[in-house]
Amino acid sequence: MSDADDLLAMYRQMAVIRRTEKAAYDLFLAGLVKGTTHLATGHEAVAVGASAALRADDYVFATYRGHHHAIARGAPPEACIAELMQKSTGLCKGKGGSMHLTYAAGGMLGSYAIVGAHLPMAVGAAWSAKQRGTGQVAVAFFGDGATNIGAFHEALNLAAVWRLPVVFVCENNLYMEYTPIGAVTAADHPAADRAPAYRLPADIVDGNDAVLVREAVDKAAQRARAGDGPTVVEAETYRHYGHSRTDPAKYRPADEVELWMKHDPIDVARARLEALGVPADRIRQLDEQVAAEIAAAVDAAKAAPAADVAEAFTDMWADGGAQWRR
């Protein structure tokens, strides 16, 4: 494939994520999605850029802000939307919800809602890959807020000591929930600045440029596959919405918001496509295709049956049941 084809595929995936997140937002306002959602709008380039650098059999671990990672690893948007809508066709049969989207078929081994908990899991998956000699890489995506929790440090240390094929990708969106990360962290770059203490290389990249993210993760993955151990990638990005559904994000200065909104990852990719000579019509056509695809996914999710109540007592144990006594 040419550079333009590669980039078009990435652009398409980002457009799918953007539309899916917008659908989640609208469905929430319509009362059709309950609980909470942590939308990844604005973070698309991190998931798509990283995924483009990975093999189909690599492992990915994400956070409760993880819709983009599930989709980037191939989860059907319809199943993601259906999961949010508590439908039986949901990705996790209605047992996971927005914060736990998982697509194991694509190596996406879960979205975890306890901050930092999945970093040691990614280390374990990398350890397993090393043991089995498969050449697989494990990637942990996490927010800037996770860099102050013990599991982050335990994961980096063990991965470094055991030289494991793992890539730690921080999605630094400048805010730890509602608080500026800089106000609560004794490091300018919360992930990258910690890496040298564990003798790990770190890259700081524009997380809104999928091509640059792909480059950084590709370099890190190659290093991992060569047996040279883990890398930290800090991708700087920005949320278009608040932390979660209930957060209007009023704490962010208007000029900061404006600056980042002008640096939208989809605009960045579109500009790159235009620079490569891809006609504007082609991009518009693709946008329309994606819009229709997600609209159909929403319709299908709406039409799907509600989660089957019998599922409350399945999938507990490996035998499929929930029996705890005899």
């Binding site: 998956a125 350890w127 240390n157 999938d315």
Partner: protein, 327 residues
């Protein structure tokens, strides 16, 4: 020919070694388990036989140990993680409370975690408040964990085989007070199914349900009660999850009295679950109130005399059973 015996301590390493020989996906990780062969000498010989590729020394880093075990279990390995003292489970409790037991369910069955977390549990050795607790009830508070707590060397080996072969996560409590105890060496293919209690002494007047260290305590009490003409049946529960309610209920059906002997604290102890089931489902079987002999609701004190005051002893069991027998 004299019977071949093995200590409880040796049985731990023997049980793991048997599974490592039969399945190359079994790997061990933990603090000081490799070259040092474990602070309790429960991993003696493993590093020598299987090498650094399968027996991994870790830093003091409980979240990394258990989290990495989880990630490895999700991706084709069967990790056996050691948490040196069960008190330290609190340092990685997120994995036992929020991650390991929930991931299969919340992903709609997409992910399975066949792992074992082994840990030295319980008191009686004068290690004080942060190295002596019996915390098997902690694991019982979270649906999604299987829980084994053997009382004999043969059960250590048999339950270890089941735990490692299980596709579900198992928390395996090895009792510190039993490490030096000895018993018959089980045959090479010995497997004890998870969730099968054992009637270790038959009796007609009262059922004593016990687990791990409280099994020998209950047996000692039963011996003394026999001298008083009270016939006690002793059920070794062996596992808390799956819980063998059937065996307990059948025993209570024979004796009509139930005393539960548990080392974890009375408040929140596993005996409360056993008692509630028996009272709910077997009230007509009972001729006396269900009683629990558990640790007192205080931290474990250091001094021997104080520790004895707090944890269950044969004296306490005998006194409680005498009261129940008089009903």
């Amino acid at each position: 020919m004299a019977e071949v015996t093995i200590s409880y301590r040796e049985a731990v390493a023997a049980g793991i070694a048997r599974e490592m020989r039969r399945d190359p996906s079994v790997v061990c990780l933990g603090e000081d388990i490799g070259a040092a062969e474990g602070v309790f000498k429960t991993t003696v010989g493993l590093f020598k036989e299987f090498g650094a590729e399968r027996v991994w020394d870790t830093p003091i880093s409980e979240q990394a140990i258990v989290g990495a075990a989880m990630g490895a279990a999700m991706t084709g390995m069967r990790p056996v993680a050691e948490i040196m003292f069960s008190d330290f489970l609190a340092c990685c409790w997120d994995y036992l409370a929020n991650e390991i037991p929930k991931v299969r369910y919340m992903t709609g069955g997409q992910v399975t975690v066949p792992l074992v977390i082994r840990t030295a549990n319980g008191g009686g050795l004068g290690f004080g408040a942060q190295h002596s607790q019996a915390v098997e009830n902690w694991a019982l508070t979270v649906p999604g964990l299987k829980i084994a707590a053997p009382s004999t060397p043969a059960d250590v080996i048999g339950l270890m085989a089941s735990a490692i072969r299980s596709d579900d996560p198992v928390v395996f409590f090895e009792h510190k007070g039993l490490f030096a105890s000895k018993g018959p060496m089980p045959p090479e293919d010995h497997v004890v199914e998870l969730g099968r209690a054992a009637v270790v002494r038959e009796g007609t007047d009262v059922t004593l349900v016990a687990l791990a260290s409280t099994v020998p305590t209950a047996l000692t009490a039963a011996e003394r009660l026999a001298a008083d003409g009270i016939s006690a049946e002793v059920v070794d529960l062996r596992c808390l999850i799956p819980m063998d309610v059937t065996t307990v209920m059948e025993s209570v059906g024979r004796t009509s009295r139930l005393v539960i002997v548990e080392e974890n604290p009375y408040q929140g102890g596993w005996g409360g679950t056993v008692a509630s089931i028996v009272v709910d489902e077997g009230f007509e079987l009972l001729d006396a109130p269900v009683r629990r002999v558990a640790s007192a609701n205080v931290p474990l004190p250091f001094a021997d005399a104080l520790e004895d005051e707090v944890i269950p002893t044969a004296d306490k069991v005998v006194a409680v059973v005498r009261g129940v027998a008089g009903y």
